[in-house]
Every structure is written in structure tokens, then in C-alpha cells.
């Protein structure tokens, strides 16, 4: 708690020094990117407001990292415009875009101390050394890196390295923070801690952040707004709960939520007017005696808070998530009943059918 108070004090200093500087908004207009014959981004339009935490999520190869690199200026878009704070930055080099980036592999300069790692960008920009020292002090206190400033990256643990990478971004006081899968090289426990830390930083810095991940848990827990990308196109943009409750496409329905939504071929259920029926595992009830769908238990996973049951039915596999502990025998017969109000129907193009 004491440490927390001190941090708040530092944040206050940080903000007062920053004054009322507008933190960046971002606008992307019809961005396309091709590598030779391969189209990686096929026309992306997106608007990010001041101070928003936006997460790009999608499977490998969907173009999310490429999009981030285009925003950073590390890759040139084949066509389209990028506007940061209303200014077109298509031809602005990365260092002048008012951005900072945190990389998956930390990308710390191995031959420089933590202090020099954080200060290099400012030194390069010709800032006076007093100011550099002050900014490093604030950032390192925020991230409790004070004791490690003279160490080399090789002498730090993975979590500390990632904090240094975040610190290096903070000292630049950017309009836009870009995170490229920053947690995927950390182990599970550290990942949760760092996630909380990033969320806290976002609240305190009130900065605009864009974050790329393939992990939908990170996306759901951190984002104000999630952008789901698939094959170089935006599938849907919305708050985490919007995506969970009203997915617009089969892809989003299958991607958001864990375990994955059951997507059942409508024809096998004898339903007409739809191609696919979707029902989340948590919206299915089971009974040993009666129900809509009959299935045999293939496997049961006990997670303590949840029990996940995998059924084999006439129309294929079905996953059911029950809250609490339940005991069902493998190979036993169970009847599953979907929650009628929470099924989704998708047409031939994978779009949702309303109503």
C-alpha cells in the first residue's frame, strides 16, 4: 500500500509534467499490405480514440503484427493512410511518429545497461541529460526497476527484462504505445502479473495503447476495444462483452470464448434457414435422463471451479461447461439441452442471422 502511494505520487508528477498534452488518437484508412503476390492486409479501416486500449487479436498469420508494424512505420503500407493525432504519418520515420513499442522478444540492447537501454531514445532525440535522468527515474520507480538500473539485460530475469522494455517505452512519453505480444515469452504466473501491471499502467498513464496478441484471455481482460482480425481483414470491432454476447461472424464466435463455442452443422440438426448453429459450452444444461441431444461422454476435465465435458453426439462432438464439480462416467450417456435464448445462427457466408 505504501509503495502504491509512492507510485501514485510519481504518476502525478508524470502527468503534471505532461500537462494537458493530448495523447494520440489513431486513424487507419484502407490500409493494404502485400509481400510480393501475398496480400497480408486487405483493406483495414479503424479508428482509435484518445486513451483507448485496443487489442488486435487473431490467429497466426492474420496480419495483426504486420498491421502494428505498419502503424509503427517499420513496414510501409502498400496503400492507404495512417493518421496519428490527425496528422498523416505515412512518410514519417518511426522515431518521429510519437510512438513507443514493446516487443515480444524484449529487444533490449544487450551491451547497454538498463539505464542506457531506457535512455537511448531520448539521448538520440537530443534531450538534456537532466531530463533523461528524471524520466528514467520516474519510469523505473513505476516499474520497481530502481535497483537494476546499472545491470545488463543478461543479468535480469524474463519478467524484469519485459519491465525494462516497457520502461523504455514509458520514458519516451509517446502518444501511442504499441505492444507486440509482450507476454508470450513469459511463464504463466508472470504473465498474469505483467498483465495486471499493464492494465494499471494504462489506467495511470491514460495513454492510447495498441496491443497485439493471439491469446484471447489477454484480449478479454485488458481491452476497451477488441479488433478481431482474420486473413487480413477486420472481422469485428467491439468491447469484449459485445464480442462475447453478439458475435457477427462464425469466426468471431469461434475465436472468442474458452472453451470454444460449439459450431454445429445446421443440416445435421434438421434446422433450415441457417448454415451453422452456435452454442457456447457454458449455455448447455445436461441431464442423465432426458434432454434435446443425446451423447456419450468421451472425456471429463475437472478444473475445480468448472467441469468440462466432451460429448460425442449424432451430429458430432459437443463441449459442455458446467460450473462447480460434477461427476460423470466416461462412456456414460448424457442428454444435453441448449439454452434456447443463447444460440446463434449463421448463414452460408458465416454472417449472423439476426432474430
Amino acid at each position: 500500500m505504501k509503495a502504491c502511494g509512492r507510485v501514485n505520487q510519481l504518476i502525478y508528477e508524470f502527468e503534471s509534467r505532461n500537462g494537458n498534452k493530448t495523447l494520440g488518437s489513431l486513424k487507419i484508412e484502407n490500409i493494404r499490405k502485400s509481400f510480393g503476390q501475398v496480400d497480408v492486409l486487405k483493406g483495414i479501416d479503424l479508428e482509435v480514440k484518445d486513451g483507448e486500449f485496443v487489442i488486435f487479436v487473431g490467429p497466426s498469420g492474420c496480419g495483426k503484427s504486420t498491421l502494428l508494424r505498419v502503424i509503427a512505420g517499420l513496414e510501409d503500407a502498400t496503400s492507404g493512410d495512417i493518421l496519428i493525432d490527425g496528422k498523416k504519418v505515412n512518410n514519417t520515420p518511426p522515431a518521429k511518429r510519437g510512438i513507443a513499442m514493446v516487443f515480444q522478444t524484449y529487444a533490449l540492447y544487450p551491451h547497454l545497461s538498463v539505464r542506457d537501454n531506457m535512455g537511448l531514445g531520448l539521448k538520440q532525440a537530443g534531450k538534456p541529460s537532466d531530463e533523461i535522468k528524471e524520466r528514467i527515474g520516474i519510469a523505473s520507480n513505476m516499474l520497481s526497476l530502481g535497483d537494476y538500473l546499472e545491470r545488463r539485460p543478461a543479468e535480469l530475469s524474463g519478467g524484469q527484462r519485459q519491465r525494462v522494455a516497457i520502461g523504455r517505452a514509458i520514458v519516451r512519453e509517446p502518444q501511442l504505445f504499441l505492444f507486440d505480444e509482450p507476454l508470450s515469452n513469459l511463464d504463466a504466473a508472470l504473465r498474469v502479473n505483467t498483465r495486471i501491471e499493464i492494465a494499471r499502467l494504462h489506467r495511470q498513464l491514460k495513454a492510447t495503447m495498441i496491443y497485439v496478441t493471439h491469446d484471447q484471455v489477454e484480449a478479454m481482460t485488458l481491452a476497451d476495444k477488441i479488433v478481431v482480425l482474420n486473413r487480413g481483414k477486420i472481422e469485428q470491432v467491439g468491447s469484449p462483452m459485445e464480442l462475447y454476447n453478439s458475435p457477427q461472424t462464425v469466426f468471431v464466435a469461434g475465436f472468442i470464448g474458452s472453451p470454444q463455442m460449439n459450431l454445429i452443422d445446421a443440416s445435421k440438426l434438421g434446422q433450415s434457414g441457417a448454415k451453422t448453429i452456435g452454442i457456447r459450452p457454458e449455455h448447455i444444461q445436461v441431464s442423465k435422463t432426458s434432454g434435446e441431444w443425446k451423447g456419450s461422454v468421451i472425456h471429463v476435465e475437472h478444473l475445480g471451479a468448472d467441469t468440462i465435458i466432451y460429448l460425442q453426439t449424432d451430429f458430432g462432438p459437443l463441449t459442455v461447461r458446467l460450473f462447480g464439480e460434477h461427476n460423470y462416467d466416461v462412456d456414460g450417456v448424457l442428454y444435453a439441452t441448449p439454452d434456447a435464448g443463447r444460440t446463434y445462427r449463421f448463414d452460408n457466408d458465416g454472417k449472423i442471422i439476426k432474430g
Binding site: R69, L74, P94, I99, M101, T105, A107, Q124, A125
Partner: protein
């Protein structure tokens, strides 16, 4: 995790093989060094014997150093080798960085073209090189040798360094770009320190053939002012009489600088290897 313990017999055999190899490799060097400290008659009477008080003689060294020019020959060798290594490393690393970092049309073709020199010995072009040097007025200058050796060393340097530069993480270079480093700073301040072990390897591979070369000094720069050590030693080898004392002394002296340079570079090599291992 415990290492599987190798049987002592196996380890012993490995060591035996390595020791035998070392002895074979060092024997000529050893012979050269001991005989350089003996007088002429005992070199022939007992070539394998160590110098004893009765056979000990510095006559070879006196001849070599008394010749006066030898200091100059050493200096020439140093200049030629040093400058050539510098240029090979500089241009080789720059070309390798461009090939590994930038996507451009004909990238692979350019890489292959630059590597072609590994397969085609530069000596095949001796006549053309000599004509070129004559036309440029560079015969009997160290510049001629430096140019030739730089050209000779570049293909292998580009080839090895390109492979190594590809292993330097893209994120690191991109972090540098975001921090406002120019492409030159990224090359000199981020990439070069990371490929230092590879640079040391290239330096060793480049250095030894240059230092030992007799061909190009003989053809391009045989004047007394531009002789290298290897060429200089040849004055003691005559058609009818060879001054073995002087030849062996000159060769012994010629080993020393190479040994020193090798030690410097090999320490870099080892440092590079261990720093990678304890990441």
C-alpha cells in the same frame, strides 16, 4: 541433470587422438624454432636435437636483423595484413548487413554473385590484375597488395557474416529504429557488437593466407621498399646455397605476430561462444 558419464577408455582415446594431431601439427613449427637457435653444422648433423650450449647460436637472427630491411618487411606485412583485414571486415559486414536486412530485387542473386569468389581462386586473374595495376601505376606499392587481398577476403567474409547477421533479432533492429537510430548506428552500435564472434572468425580466416602469401608480393610488389616478410625471407634461399640459419630465424620471427593476432581474436571467439551459452 547429470551428464551421462563417458567411459574413461573412450575419453582417453579421444584425448590420445587430439594429442597426436596436436603433435603432428606443431612438429614443423617446433623444428623450425629449435633449429633457428643452432649453428649451421649442427642443423645438418642433428636436425632433431635441441640446442645445447655447444651448438647454441644466434647467427641466424643476427643475419636477419643485421640485414636491416627486415624491420621494414615486418612493417610492410603488418600494414598489408592489418589494413586488408580492416577493409574486409568493414565492407564484408556492410554488404552482409544489406543482404540480410533489406528486401530488394535480386537480393539472392547478389548474394550468390558475391559468394562466387569463394569458388574461383583470385590467382587465376593474376595477369589481368598485374595489367590493371601497371595501368593504374600501383605496381610496387602496398596499396596494390591491400586491394588484391581485400578482394580476395571479401567473398568468404560476406558469406559467413550474412549467415550470422540473419540470426540478429529483427525486433532489436526495429527497437533501434523506433529509438531514432539511423541505419548506420543500427549497424555499428547494435549489429556489429552482436556478431563479434563471427567477425573474429572471419578475421582469422582472412589474416593467415594474407600473412603467408608469397605470390602477389612477388608479382605486384617485389621492390625492396615493399617486400613482405614472406618474400623477404626468400633472399636467403639461393639456387645453390641456402642460408638455413637465416631462413629459419626469419620464419620463427614471422610466426610471432600471427600468434599474437590469433590469440587476440581467439579470445573474442571464446567470449562470443560463452556469452551465448549462458544467455
Amino acid at each position: 541433470m547429470a551428464k551421462p558419464t563417458a567411459s574413461p577408455v573412450r575419453t582417453g582415446l579421444v584425448h590420445l587422438a587430439l594429442i597426436i594431431y596436436t603433435l603432428i601439427a606443431l612438429f614443423p613449427v617446433f623444428l623450425t624454432v629449435i633449429n633457428s637457435f643452432k649453428d649451421r653444422s649442427s642443423i645438418f648433423r642433428d636436425p632433431l636435437g635441441l640446442p645445447t650450449p655447444s651448438t647454441f647460436s644466434l647467427i641466424g637472427y643476427q643475419t636477419v636483423l643485421g640485414q636491416g630491411d627486415f624491420v621494414l618487411y615486418f612493417q610492410n606485412s603488418f600494414i598489408v595484413t592489418g589494413v586488408s583485414i580492416f577493409f574486409v571486415l568493414l565492407f564484408g559486414a556492410m554488404a552482409a548487413f544489406a543482404l540480410s536486412e533489406y528486401r530488394f530485387r535480386g537480393n539472392t542473386l547478389m548474394g550468390l554473385y558475391l559468394a562466387l569468389g569463394i569458388m574461383i581462386p583470385i590467382r587465376l586473374g593474376t595477369v589481368a590484375i598485374l595489367q590493371g595495376m601497371v595501368a593504374a601505376g600501383l605496381v610496387n606499392t602496398l596499396t596494390a597488395l591491400i586491394l588484391v587481398y581485400t578482394a580476395q577476403g571479401l567473398p568468404l567474409a560476406v558469406f559467413i557474416l550474412t549467415e550470422f547477421m540473419q540470426t540478429v533479432s529483427d525486433d532489436l533492429k526495429n527497437a533501434g529504429r523506433i529509438d531514432g537510430l539511423s541505419e548506420y548506428s543500427i549497424f555499428f552500435r547494435l549489429v556489429l557488437p552482436l556478431v563479434r564472434p563471427a567477425m573474429a572468425t572471419v578475421a582469422v580466416f582472412t589474416m593467415i593466407p594474407i600473412w603467408n602469401d608469397l605470390w602477389f608480393p612477388l608479382i605486384l610488389a617485389p621492390s625492396d621498399a615493399t617486400k613482405t616478410v614472406t618474400l623477404g625471407s626468400q633472399v636467403f634461399i639461393g639456387q645453390f646455397v641456402t642460408n638455413w640459419n637465416a631462413v629459419l630465424a626469419a620464419l620463427t620471427l614471422a610466426i610471432v605476430p600471427v600468434l599474437v593476432l590469433y590469440l587476440i581474436f581467439s579470445r573474442q571467439l571464446i567470449r562470443g561462444i560463452t556469452s551465448g551459452a549462458v544467455k
